[in-house]
Symmetry: C2
Subunit: 336 residues, 2 copies
């Protein structure tokens, strides 16, 4: 059965049933009306972000299953809420697909999206379906609210602040590189890197803990690659950074792929987008307490990888002690 | 200069400058961070809706200018807020375009969108830009809040309620039909119908007045065509309707096109989507007061076109008095 056979109204009914069976607190008024009504939760306002994934640009069906595509699209939008120190509440989906798409593909896209959303208490509160002749499209809107007293923006880092990152870096690009250049190597040994590329985790618990218990001065999620995203923090905060390459928490999966393909794992760590780790600054004297609190809460660990500087350049310090300027890598998904 | 030449970062800067110069109250945190922070306005919660327009499906560049395309995309999203009896506050845009798109085209799309938004006090609060190899895409999210005590849904019409519609019907499809079938006829005589197809008006003032001063029982915007949208009200309210065809406020522009093409203007009025008029039910004894209040407020007029019935069928009564069942017309934009 294809979308064409099913028709738009039956498709919406199908989505509605799947959503009713999924997790996450529903909105006051949900799918089936002209707009959703979302309950007011925080007097501090509502966080809203939009993030889209288009077939062939942001995902490929020969690299990821439909379920993984749905999961990852949701992860990208939810990660933006995490990066503001927010609690995510609802997702809205504009779903485009060619008329000949099988209904099972749509079901699987939704299952992946609803699976990740449900794990974070997030419901699908509304959407729109359109015919998209060439490519599957998932355009997501995520709404939530600040977990703490205020939202954490990209602006606010001060010279002397510690620069930290959650989790590990490099595996998403390592997995993608493996799929592109050596698909025959996609064996169990590299499963961790492949999983990281296909089903990344938004760091919502980590962002909320930081925003409620500490004083992060600026935050962003690593979606364009560490080198590029440090540049965003620098530009918006009007500071520079020194990044200590020896301290980067390079993912074991990224190291394994780098070794197999003869690459430098540090380059994976600097250029890998869609990591969805949180990159943030905090007062130097809070950095250790943050690391301990994340560990106690069974969150992803945080690593100090550098510091903010008054001089506005972004520099990388090599293990040898030599410094070089760190330029944005221009992460362009499949266009690179 | 094309998008490819400009690059994503410069494009976002360009959008940011245009938005700063446009109308509408800005959000607390706007374009340039991971998510926007929208101020809490109403304790009744926030309305959120998504609506997308894809080139070749929802618009054609040989039928509409980029400015008109941007206007109409915004109108579709804002109309969903109007249909809930809401006040619109912010728009979010996911903009996709082929890399060879000229920057002037993007500027014009944005100008049209920002023009309509500004007229309603709505700001562009955030967005996402993606490469879309074949087609321009505008995926919009609109947020706002109920103007009155509660949001008006599609459910709530009761047998005996009057069925009303704002403005006039038929001109959007008449204009589109003219462009498709007889472009040589696109002369000044038909300018009104063409304008209605290209730059429709969301009925925000009308929806807010209804929600604050009266007791509409159910409401929807005419986006799929009157016949189809009456069916949505019937299904969600679990009632039927009798629509009096002699009372339909058929647009003069629709009549002019119908006469020129040898069509029945009533068919235009029943099947025309993207009208963005409000179709609503209200207690019979409020109907005249509603019509007077809209006239006094210099809003679009409202016309009583039928009534809700206990019997769940949707019927049309012809001027002859004969009744027939009214079926959804399956408005499919350019796919029909």
């Amino acid at each position: 059965v294809t979308l064409e056979d099913l028709g738009e109204r039956a498709l919406i009914e199908r989505v509605r049933r799947r959503v009713a069976a999924a997790g996450g607190a529903p909105p006051v008024i949900g799918i089936g009306d002209d707009a959703a009504l979302v309950a007011p939760v925080s007097p501090r306002g509502m966080l809203v972000t939009v993030d889209a994934a288009l077939e062939g640009i942001h995902f490929r069906q020969d690299f990821s299953t439909p379920r993984e595509v749905g999961w990852k699209a949701a992860a990208g939008a939810l990660s933006d809420i995490a990066a503001m120190g927010g609690v995510a509440r609802h997702l809205f989906l504009t779903l485009g697909a060619p008329p000949r798409t099988r209904v099972e593909t749509i079901d699987a896209l939704l299952d992946g999206l609803l699976d990740l959303a449900g794990r974070h208490g997030v419901s699908l509160a509304g959407g729109d379906t359109i015919a998209s002749p060439e490519r599957i499209l998932l355009a997501l809107t995520a709404v939530g609210e600040p977990a703490g007293e205020r939202a954490i923006t990209r602006a606010g880092a001060r010279p002397g602040d510690a620069l930290l990152v959650t989790g590990t870096l490099g595996a998403s690009l390592a997995g993608l590189t493996l799929l592109r250049e050596a698909p025959a190597l996609a064996i169990p040994k590299f499963a961790a890197a492949l999983a990281r590329h296909r089903t990344p985790e938004p760091r919502l618990a980590e962002g909320a803990l930081l925003a409620t218990a500490f004083h992060p001065t600026a935050m962003i999620d690593v979606s364009d690659g560490l080198a590029t995203d440090v540049g965003h923090l620098a530009a918006e905060s009007a500071v520079g950074f020194r990044v200590d390459l020896a301290s980067l928490p390079i993912d074991d999966g990224a190291r394994a792929v780098a070794a197999a393909l003869g690459r430098d794992p540090i380059e994976f760590a600097l250029a890998s987008g869609e990591e969805y780790e949180l990159l943030f600054t905090a007062p130097r004297d809070e950095a250790d307490a943050i690391r301990e609190a994340l560990a106690r809460a069974a969150c992803a660990p945080a690593t100090i990888i550098g510091e903010a500087t008054a001089e506005r350049a972004v520099r990388a310090r090599a293990p040898s002690g030599r410094e070089r300027e760190l330029h944005p890598t221009g992460f362009e998904h499949f266009r690179g």
